[in-house]
Amino acid sequence: MTKYLLYPGCSLESNARAYHDSLMAISGPLGLELEEIHDWNCCGATEYVGISLTPAYALISRNLALAAKQANGTRTVVAPCSACYLNLAKADYYMRESPRLGVKVNTALAAGDMHYTPGSLQIRHLLDVIMNDIGLETVKRGVVRPLTGLRVAPYLGCMVPRPDYEHRWSNPEYPTELDRVLKALGAEVIDFPLKTHCCGGHMTQIGPDVAYELIRRLVHAAAEYRADMMVTLCPMCQLNIDAYQGEMNRHFGTNYRMPILFFTQLMGLAFGKDPGELGIGRELVNAHAALARIGVEVPPAEAAPAPRKPRRPKEALPMPHMPEDMEVNQ
């Protein structure tokens, strides 16, 4: 059992409850022991830092100070939510890079009898921990119901792969980590070109027109690639694409029906867990139709009609050779 300090963040307690449910359900099979940071506070999302710098970083660092004090046998904080992850990681990084900021923050923390030494914690995202600490072999071993035939569009959003100061991801524009986890579950992963393109973030509240356009382009691209669903790791992205899909459709006069689930939910399904346990059904754009494809007896591979690949004309020029984990599914 590997132990980590968990920073759930406000979203996992409310609009991304499904993320939380499924995370708890899969932690057993993965051998992941999560201890919640006691009395953590909101990280400020992308709102606080735009109001005032020092208070914003002090707000974030209270959590770091709590975690550091609570750390018994583990120095790693796991954050499943993108904004929380980025805020915690950035705070630690900037306090190391700019001692002036570190001094200011610790002076503020001292008013609450707290202190945080920058660099004393490692902030990791959940996907990073699953890929690199737990490993794909363990994930594969836990799969009892492979998600064969389910076409998924992996969607990471912005704030996890970027800005990646600690170089944890294979690429800030085109990371393959989520693809590989989903492949390990047996799903058919499409080469989704917009996998790290913005969902609009808080623009749904501030400038809805901007947000609807960003949501539309993502949903359209997933539909164009004939994905059954999008799979994400960010609560904000899930909220925007799920809860605002209806409004987006009304705005453009379209009728997309693209469900979006958290990757932990799919992991849970592949591990044989009951859908209810995983928060499936909490989504507004219903995923049941898509999931019906794996809920039923899957016909053997030979019988299933192979997707027709467009025949390459014999005059076609060769494509450049790409590394294995970037193998493309059309």
């Binding site: 020029l317 790409m322 970037m326």
Partner: protein, 683 residues
């Protein structure tokens, strides 16, 4: 060691303190320094001390010469600028006057005193100390003679691209033998892959192949292709080089170049090198029809016979029986006097920039791929088409600065991409009539007829967008984008983000050093910068020589450049080599280390520390020895030797210690001062 207080002067020293205009005189009281030397250092041998406005001028030098002749000076000390600048000047002046040049010492009271201190009193004091150090040191100088080594008339040229070809032809035409070693089966380099060259739009092969043929047929050039250098020993004028000539599996004395073997070979593979991955070749192949030499080569990794033991079709069909599967690599040892490295560059790999889509999106091409597409002898016979091999594009985008000018990839500008992009724009327009967009940050067209070429391309109607491309995607968002590649960019001059749908994208990828540049540099014993380009002796005044005597660099191996500059560098390197060969011998600076054999314990610590591989170890006597021709006098081994067994002519222990004594002014009042000071400290 001479004892300062009780020696009577044995030498006659002339001291010259330079004003250097106000550079030195503005901070240091130079007249005072000269007078001080004349008085306080008289007992050390100073017979004359002068100050002068510009010692390096002819009048200044003549002053020294006159004093040497008239006053019978046996040593000269000049206090002026850094030896890097004028050591040679004053040494030559002494030589003209009949004094051995190595009996002259130049101490810096500019870079080390007047340019770094503001306090005039303190600076003047320091100048006196520095001068005093110089005087003490020069007493230990010896009359040295430069080392003369003969120059072997043969030259090794590594790399058969246009730089190497130019250099080889110039030396060979000059009447001296050249051996050219080229890694690929044919010479020609990258230039042989291009279609047209800017700004003249000359066909690259048409201007290159005559030179290639000259190299192939020149009586003075020995061409070793499909070969690599494996070992380099020796020093300037006398290099011993081992070359591994890889087995072609074709007997060149029997092969007529008829090409039947290639026709009959059943194994077709993607040609990653010459066709840039866009075309095919056989397992037995000649890289291109105008290859020099014309003999094919068997690619063992892909040959059915070597991998599975069957086939042998080439052998069956060869009319002259030239195929020899049992051929082995040959190792050839060469003696050469000079080496020219012209190993060229590699293209930046745009797969490192995933948001440009190369490798995932079919119709994104690199610059080299496009050259092959456009080339009449290429995989599409010169038709500019999409990756399906059939469709002609109606809109094409050319992206500048791919992987260059970017601290995430390569920081530098690759020098040729703007011109190359303009060339692509012109070719696409001419051949297909498509709408062409060029996306740039700055337009760099500095050389002759370059900006005029830009004007021409503007006239032809290519559309220019000043903005660095943010991404190339196939995800359609707006009407008209379906099925296209969309280039998303900020048009900075219009101030708006634009999404431009095109059919084909050409990435002007930058230049990079060869993947094995660092290993090769080590092999030859020259310096390589952190990013992999080879380091020239002086970036402005000596771009083809290196810090290692006898080894020169030419072409893109020194940094990105266009063909005219590459040819110039090849010719420059050749000229330097020819000059050396004509002189028949070279005088090497006698400032170098030497190992006192009696003191050497054979620990060999010095062997690996030497940056110039100048120390050999004698197994029989268990002692190390410095090769004076390779040694550059850097002093690393001297410092490292635990037994203190290494000293140097020009920087012997005596000289350095004497200089320290002089700096501390112990030569003035003798050891009493040291003793007094020590007492004062301990009290």
């Amino acid at each position: 060691m001479t004892s300062p207080e009780n020696s009577s002067p044995t030498e006659r020293i002339g001291v010259y303190v330079c004003h250097c205009g106000t550079n030195i005189a503005g901070t240091v009281d130079v007249e005072d320094v000269a007078q001080w030397a004349a008085g306080r250092l008289k007992h050390r041998g100073v017979v004359i001390a002068r100050d002068y406005k510009f010692m390096c001028s002819s009048l200044g030098q003549e002053m020294i010469e006159k004093d040497i002749k008239e006053l019978g000076l046996t040593r000269v000390v000049v206090a002026a600028c850094s030896p890097h600048l004028h050591e040679q000047t004053f040494r030559t002046a002494c030589k003209r006057a009949g004094l051995n040049p190595y009996l002259c010492e130049l101490v810096s009271i500019r870079e080390q005193v007047s340019w770094v201190h503001a306090d005039k009193v303190a600076a003047t004091g320091k100048a006196k100390a520095v001068l005093s150090g110089g005087v003490e040191r020069v007493l230990h100088h010896e009359a040295l003679e430069p080392l003369r080594v003969p120059i072997h008339p043969a030259t090794l040229v590594v790399g058969g691209g246009i730089a190497g070809i130019q250099a080889a032809l110039e030396i060979a035409d000059g009447g001296f033998p050249v051996i050219m070693v080229e890694r690929e089966p044919s010479i020609g380099g990258h230039m042989a892959q291009f279609d047209k060259t800017f700004p003249t739009l000359d066909c690259a092969a048409c201007i290159l192949t005559p030179k290639m043929v000259s190299v192939g047929t020149h009586p003075n050039i020995t061409l070793l292709t499909y070969s690599e250098v494996t070992k380099v020993d020796g020093y300037v004028g006398n290099f011993t080089v081992t070359v591994r000539q890889k087995a072609r599996c074709v007997k060149t004395d029997l092969c007529t170049g008829c090409g039947v073997c290639q026709e009959k070979c059943p194994k077709k593979i993607i040609d990653e090198i010459y066709e840039a991955g866009l075309g095919y070749r056989k397992a037995i192949y000649v890289p291109f029809p105008q290859a020099v030499p014309k003999y094919p080569v068997i690619d063992r990794e892909n040959c059915t016979y070597f991998q599975k033991g069957t086939c042998k079709a080439c052998e069956k069909f060869c009319p002259t029986g030239a195929i020899d599967f049992n051929q082995e690599d040959e190792y050839i040892t060469l003696q050469v006097g000079n080496i020219i490295l012209a190993t060229g560059y590699d293209l930046f790999d745009p797969r490192r920039i995933p948001h440009y889509g190369y490798g995932r999106l079919a119709n994104v091409f690199t610059s080299l791929e496009f050259e092959r597409l456009s080339n009449a002898a290429g995989p599409t016979n010169g038709r500019i088409v999409l990756r399906d091999g059939v469709t002609v594009p109606k809109a094409v985008g050319v992206v500048h600065c791919v992987g260059s000018r970017d601290r995430n990839y390569n920081n530098y500008c690759s020098a040729i991409c703007c011109m190359q992009s303009l060339k692509f724009a012109h070719l696409v327009k001419e051949r297909t009539g498509a709408t062409v967009f060029n996306f740039y940050i700055d337009m760099r067209t500095p050389a002759k007829a370059y900006d005029e070429f830009y004007q021409r391309v503007l006239e032809e109607g290519t559309l220019f967008v000043r903005g660095r491309v943010a991404e190339v995607t196939d995800a359609a968002r707006l009407a008209g984008e379906e099925g296209k590649l969309i280039i998303q960019v900020e048009d900075t001059l219009a101030g708006k983000q634009r999404r431009i749908p095109v059919d084909m994208v050409i990435l002007s990828a930058g230049m990079q050093p060869r993947a094995d540049a660092k290993e090769a540099a080590k092999l030859f014993g020259i310096s390589c910068s952190a990013d992999g380009w080879y380091i020239e002796k002086h970036p402005k005044l000596d771009p083809v020589a290196t810090m290692t005597e006898g080894i020169f660099i030419a072409g893109c191996v020194q940094g990105p450049k266009d063909i005219p500059n590459t040819v110039v560098q090849g010719a420059a390197a050749a000229a330097r080599v020819l000059g050396r060969i004509q002189q028949k011998e070279i005088a090497l600076e006698p400032i170098r280390a030497s190992i006192i054999e009696a003191k050497c314990s054979g620990c060999r610590i010095c062997n690996n520390l030497c940056p110039f591989n100048a120390i050999l170890f004698h197994e029989d006597r268990m002692v190390s020895e410095v090769n004076p021709a390779l040694c550059q006098g850097c002093g690393t081994c001297v410092a490292a030797c635990p037994a203190g067994a290494i000293t140097g002519t020009g920087f012997s222990n005596e000289q350095v210690l004497a200089q320290i004594e002089g700096l501390l002014m112990l030569n003035l009042d003798g050891r009493r001062r040291v003793a007094e000071k020590a007492e004062a400290v301990l009290a």
